[in-house]
């Protein structure tokens, strides 16, 4: 009985780890595409907040979760257009511009929420969609195949992003403009057009990550993303700008978060120790970042604006 009990706890913890990992993964995969093309976007957190609010509000108004997801994607594309204008057309400094986007998203969604909603109204959250047959497998089924649609989408995007970067002409262009934009330009690759596309995709995925958080919780709150967008940016470095690496980082972060939460819940750690343990995922990230960054190399043209005259 004890064994069965602890098995069920382990299964629940691992499943929670995968749920935790999904928003990180969505946002970090998008950021990976952007950074491989030489665009740093520290505004992921702000775009996630905008995606979260848009998905929540559209679902609240229409009762359709699909509409909420579509609205979040559209909001992400709008934010992508804004960021492309700031960084590609105006050639603004990318680090500071991203912080600006974050602050805008934080303040704007809070304002909209207070003015349009105010009192938190719950919406029907995204339901679990167990995969037929696979979800019936003991243990593995509950851990891997009994999640919401957006969790599956996040993990299915890993091979897609890997394929796009490594096996397509577009991926080749992305890598070229991220490493040697001048050389790519002389070969007739439009640097800024390539970057525009990656910016649009990465912002749409960041908004989708925010939507996943709000739709899973069935609610919106001020600062609902609670810093997850910044962790997603760190996970790109953690994963050495590779889709599989990013996924490993997201899973590690998610599972450690879930284990910490479970340890607190069953009362194994309490009080100050529990607060210290809450920092474990962040500390782990720093440790791995330090070790990884010694081996991996960032795209050469990361955060450098491109203009032909330069």
């Amino acid at each position: 009985m004890d064994d069965l009990f602890s098995t069920s706890i382990i299964v629940a913890t691992l499943a929670a780890g995968i749920r935790f990992a999904a928003p990180f993964l969505l946002a970090a995969l998008g950021e990976t595409l952007g950074q491989r093309s030489g665009v740093l976007n520290l505004g992921v957190e702000g775009v996630m907040l905008i995606g979260a609010f848009t998905a929540y509000y559209a679902t609240l108004q229409t009762g359709q979760i699909g509409t909420g997801i579509a609205a979040a994607l559209a909001a992400g594309l709008v934010m992508g257009g804004l960021y492309a204008f700031i960084t590609l057309v105006m050639q603004a400094e990318q680090g500071i511009s991203g912080i600006g986007i974050y602050l805008f998203g934080l303040g704007f969604t809070d304002l909209l929420f207070q003015k349009l909603v105010g009192t938190p109204l719950p919406i029907q959250g995204l339901p679990s969609a167990p995969i037929p047959f696979l979800s019936d497998i003991p243990i593995l089924g509950e851990v891997f195949f009994n999640h919401t649609v957006l969790v599956y989408v996040a993990f299915l995007l890993v091979p897609v992003v890997w394929f796009v970067i490594n096996k397509t002409t577009f991926g080749l262009n992305i890598r070229a403009v991220g490493e040697t934009p001048e050389a790519a330009d002389t070969l007739g690759i439009s640097v800024n057009r390539t970057r525009l596309v990656t910016i649009l995709i990465s912002n749409a995925l960041a908004a989708l990550a925010g939507a996943a958080i709000a739709l899973e919780a069935g609610i919106f709150q001020q600062n609902i993303t609670a810093g997850q967008g910044f962790i997603a940016v760190a996970l790109v470095y953690f994963g050495a700008w590779k889709a599989v690496g990013v996924m490993s980082g997201a899973l590690l972060f998610g599972v450690v978060s879930a284990v910490v939460l479970q340890l607190k819940t069953v009362g194994i750690v309490t009080g100050a120790a529990s607060s210290l343990l809450a920092m474990a995922p962040a500390l782990l990230t720093i440790v791995v970042l330090v070790t990884v960054s010694r081996r991996a190399r960032a795209p050469s043209a990361l955060s450098q604006p491109f203009s032909r005259a330069a």
Partner: protein, 341 residues
Amino acid sequence: MKHIYRLAALTTAVALGATACSSGSDDEETPEASSSAAAVGADAEPLKVAVVAPSASNDLAFTQSMIDSLNAIGEERELDVDVTDGVFVVEDAAAAIRGYAEDGYDLVLAHGSQYGSSVQEIAAEFPDVAFAWGTAADTFDLPNVSSYTVRSDEGGYAFGVMAAALSESGTLGVIGPVEVGDAKLYVDGFVAGASAQDPSIATNVTYTDSFSDVKLAGEAATAHLSNGADVLTGSAQMVVGATGVAVEAGVPWFGTQSDQTSLGPDIVVASQVYDWTPFLGELFDSIEGGDLGGEVYTATLENGGLSIAYNDGFDLPADVKELGDTAIAGLTDGSVTTGIE
């Protein structure tokens, strides 16, 4: 962000008129006496009250508890109320507090424990303006500062008693933000009440260390369920993530700070509601009497600062409700204590 509304107390004027009528009954000219008294009542300067609060006026939590109380009291006495809400940044709040003091408000309510140092500094510069802040128990020894706090452990205790009686698994789950203030008091009270009802009960408490991380609160609730908890509760604004999980699992939920029935009409058993009306009534009376503060007010079940709102939509077994009502009555008359300092 600024709502200005004037609450004209016609009833006060009429009541004053009626009093004048009866007291001057041996006089012949009662009609004039009545009308002049009414005129005095209407002309008397209404108390000018300003509120500075960290979240939205309709947040279904801490800020709303104060706004609702002001509205309720405004129906009984003439008030001129001005609200600046959503001021999470302390520096912005300090500017608003100072602005109201300069504008000659009679009372500035700094409705957030993070505003303490601002109140301490500004109140010393404006000795003729009354200030009140909370939740806190410190008036800084200033004669024009009042503070207000809440014994949220009382409702927590009564809910713990009911939760333990409702539970079939013998495990309860609690989700808290950071281990401080009224959230900690509520959680401690809940744990004490549950143990008092059933010494063998397991009450697991998770502090998420965040007031805003809704997803983490939701996952904490899920973790409690996977550990066998079959009744949940929690405090602070991020619990909306946890109530969503409780709704989906059909698990009973106890709420606090304001009436949370709307978050789960089928699963919310009861909510502990903060009611600042008694405090505001006392404070307004003392300000009008020339005494600007210096007192610490504590909201309790006994003084009406706390009340328990049952959700009629939840089918609470009569014996469990009786246990809860007995605990509430005992806490109110002092025969039951939570054992928490």
